[in-house]
């Protein structure tokens, strides 16, 4: 049975990725305008992820800045043959954000001082700039949300706890009172579904 594939979607995604790779190549040559373009394109999405995990706008923004600075310092850290730039950026931001909350959790468990509440500082921070977004990213968001809705809720819950909650498999197993093997299989099934949906551009 032939699966319908939305070729147009795949083509657009490839075009976006090709544009991003070109910008990174220019960044490697010290092109500041290309660097700014990448920032304009992805910083708000990156901050959304960081804020979801660390729960503090100021820290989230620092994480995003650091990720972009890391690219500037070592453009070779992103390699085209390993995936798209947006995937690299989100992976970098995710890793740093999760690291941060896990370190804090470890400190909390050791009874060390919690980070002073920065929420007051956040509220007093400069007024945020408008959300300005490219149509392509807005489209991508829509498609992903549809794909996520397709994933069975017990799998989606595990993915969200892991990705947005920064929890390990074993932490999720404890929290949901599930066998570790169940958490592992739900993770794999959910990710396989997501991967298939994205790779095929299926609708």
């Amino acid at each position: 049975m032939v699966q319908a594939v939305d070729v147009r979607v795949v083509a657009v995604r490839n075009l976006e990725d090709a544009r991003d790779s070109d910008l990174v190549r220019r960044v490697a040559g010290g092109d500041e305008a290309a660097f700014r373009l990448l920032f304009q394109r992805y910083a708000q999405a990156a901050k959304a992820l960081a804020v979801r995990i660390v729960r503090q706008a100021f820290l989230a923004e620092e994480i995003v800045q650091e990720a972009f600075l890391a690219l500037w310092r070592h453009p070779g850290a992103y390699r085209e043959d390993r995936g798209s730039f947006r995937a690299w950026l989100m992976s970098t931001v995710h890793h740093r954000a999760v690291d941060l909350i896990r370190r804090e959790e470890a400190q909390r468990r050791r009874g060390e001082e919690a980070r002073p509440d920065a929420s007051a500082a956040d509220r007093a921070a400069d007024p945020a700039e408008e959300v300005v977004e490219q149509a392509a990213l807005a489209d991508a968001r829509q498609r992903v949300r549809v794909a996520l809705a397709d994933i069975p809720p017990e799998q989606r819950d595990v993915l969200e706890l892991m990705y947005y909650g920064g929890k390990t498999q074993s932490a999720i197993a404890r929290e949901l009172d599930l066998p570790l093997g169940t958490v592992k299989s739900r993770t794999l099934l959910g990710m396989r579904r997501l991967r298939a949906d994205l790779a095929g551009g299926m609708r």
Binding site: E32, G76, S84, S91, H95, A128, M162, Q169
Partner: protein, 239 residues
């Protein structure tokens, strides 16, 4: 659903979970071993890594974007301008293929000690740079230039991997490169430590020196470098 186990089933599960940063430490180590076992050339591994990384990124893109604070972009660019950048492979295009320098193409990983870092940074007029930790700290810095130009060799006595740091250096004429030389004793000939080409006037390049030397020099040589200096040194400094 696959009914028979394939060589990538286990590693796929680990890759998918790692993409979400959800692996516990023992599993993460198992993934590392698995990837190393399959090797860098494993096409299936590469595909799995890329596709699951994209799937995880999709979870990020599902969120509503959050605006940055006012001026964030300009602050980022200001911070970036102050950095020395490390571009992998540069200036390897100047080396002979299969070049003789063991350090070539592999950037040495340094942690700069505060004193050395300060000297480099102040002299080079840059705000900051970051190098991965892991190697011994360069404890000696030889200043080869004065005034606006910065040219330094940072090294650890006994270590053969050293670093050339430069700022405000003119581009070499077409077809030529800078080459660093060192002299083991007062009577010995100049030996090559490597070539380098500034980008935008700055350079941060790995070079290979002898375990001890009494002088360093820089001359302009034809692209690819020379076995012995073919021109008068532009800089010559006793160590």
């Amino acid at each position: 659903m696959r009914s028979s186990a394939g060589p990538h089933d286990r590693i796929e599960e680990l890759i998918a979970t790692q993409a979400l940063n959800g692996l516990d430490e023992p599993d993460r180590r198992e993934l590392e071993r698995g990837l190393a076992g399959h090797g860098a050339g494993c096409e299936e591994c590469r595909r799995l890594l890329a596709e699951y990384s994209a799937a995880a990124a999709a979870l990020a893109l599902a969120l509503d974007p959050v605006p940055l604070s006012a001026g964030a972009e300009d602050r980022l660019v200001a911070a970036a301008r102050g950095e020395i950048r490390v571009v992998p492979g540069a200036p390897s295009k100047d080396s002979a293929p299969g070049g003789p320098f063991p350090g070539r193409g592999r950037f040495p990983r340094w942690v700069a000690s505060a004193a050395v870092a300060a000297a480099m940074l102040v002299a080079a007029g840059v705000v900051g740079y970051s190098l991965a930790p892991g190697r011994t700290v360069p404890t000696r810095v030889v200043n080869m230039a004065a005034g606006e130009r910065v040219l330094q060799v940072a090294f650890n006595p006994g270590d053969q991997e050293a670093l050339v740091v430069g700022a405000n250096l003119p581009d070499p004429p077409a077809g030529k490169v800078y080459q660093l030389w060192y002299q083991r004793t007062e009577d010995s000939a100049m030996e090559s430590a490597g070539t380098f080409v500034p980008r935008g006037g700055t350079v941060l390049a790995p070079v290979v020196v002898g375990p001890s030397f009494v002088a360093v020099a820089v001359s302009l040589e034809p692209a690819g470098g020379s076995e012995h200096p073919t021109a008068e040194p532009l800089y010559l400094t006793k160590v």
